[in-house]
Amino acid sequence: MNKIMLKLNLNLREESLIRKLLSPRFFLMITGFVIFLCFWHLSVEVWQLPRFAQLPTLRAVVTEFISTNPIYGVSIFTHELYQHILASCLRVFAAFILATLLGVPLGLFLGWSTKFREYVFPVFEMLRPIPILAWVPLAIVMFTGIETPVIFLAFLGSFFVTALNTMLGVQQIDESYFRAARCLGANSFQVFKHVVIPGAMPFIFTGLQISVGVCWFSLVAAEMVSGQYGLGYIINTSYTNVRYPTIIIGMITLGFIGYITSAMVRSVGKSLMKWRMRELALSEG
């Protein structure tokens, strides 16, 4: 019985993949990319528009990107590209996990306890708008080595976003859920576990999706300032060494990996919130 269900499930999955590829949405997405690339090619190489003429051409970037023997040393066939990707990914992973582990509980308490919020929130709100780059000197003073200050900076950006969204998530929970839980005999701890955490979940995951983006953003800023590896680092050194196609390669790689991480966070959220998915599916149909 189970096997049949599993097979059915797999069939459905394959079918839905095919349907996805055939759907107008997929074609629109491809068309969007094609238009973007055409614009790049035409404006830089063919028309040589002002301000665009100095940029690396689409052809130069693509040839460099897929070359087995790239002129500036970085392509999909070189070990170096993956070394940079790995360095950046590990840093983002560490920073994002740390930011989530600290930011979610902080946000939950900020949203849940008025007293705690009154102590902490003003300080939090004063620190939050400080740009990541302004933290660079402190990060270098506080931490030794290269890795820790970079991770710290990426962590900071991510942390504030996660904590704030989690707090808002708790605050938007309808009062009647708290009242219902009280009526049904739940104590404070049980209310926290059964109402506050699941109720804030949709906001937490929206926050995490933004936060993983901000994490990349602050990481690259940090890597451009200090660092020996990483995608931010190649972008910066390629600039000083006048390797323009490599800058674009770094940027495209960043965009691609950023997109994947964000999709990963989204799918974790989906699997944790089946109730929400079903609700949304129904409201669409």
């Binding site: 859920y177 839980a181 009280r182 049904l184 005999g185 089946k274 079903r278 609700e279």
Partner: protein, 278 residues
Amino acid sequence: MTNSPQTRGQISIKDVVKIYDPEGAAVMAVDHCSLEIAAGEICMIVGPSGCGKTTLLNAIAGFHSINGGSIEMDGQLLCGPGKPQATPGSDRIVVFQNGALFPWKNVIDNLMFGPLMSGKLPFNEIKEKALYMMADAGLSGTENSFPGELSSGVKRRVEIVRALMNDPSVLLLDEPYRALDSLSKSVMHEALLDIYAKNKVTIFFITHDLQEALFLGTKLAIMTTRPCKPKKILTVDIPYPRSYSVVTEKRFRDLMEETSHLVHEEAKKSFAAGEKEG
């Protein structure tokens, strides 16, 4: 169900006063309101929107304090002198106007929530009870659905069963059928009377629908517009079981005639005062 419930759930409200003071302008929501509800009664509270009915319900449930008077249940003080706010508890369970089933829990987990929190029964017994009560209320088959997937009528029924899972003395219903169309409403009314016949809890039911009040209630309290207090209290002497055809009977129409102008009067006052719905 286990003990004889008719002896539980007697509520006496004495001279209750509630003043809201959000911006220094004291607004009297409830003014020396007194009301006796016998154990096992269905007391219908009818009044215009925003008249302070919900304030009274919240005071009984323990969601906010009162400024004067007292509320007792079965001889025990819920709130009154020296104790401005009652403690919420599973002996008085509220069914909310907009529904408060936890959307992140499926139906069976919602039903099991109360007993699991109090931790008096083992898990398996709670689950058995939940399944039994679901079957009894005609809800079998929805165990694994999330509230977001159910119709509002079914959601309301689940919420009432969730309350009954805790053997409460009183059910406090705050316009539970407000969002339903009149056809589903009549189905829900019969279902509620069916549940009442089986469980015999005291029901404190807020509505602004007079027909609903007369159809369901054993007692009817027509409230004045703000500040809220009973304008007229009367017994609905129509025997149970009532079916929906009762609305065409003479006694029902007489009662309707007797009360509708009172309700209409208060509604006009409320409208003139520009009360917000709520």
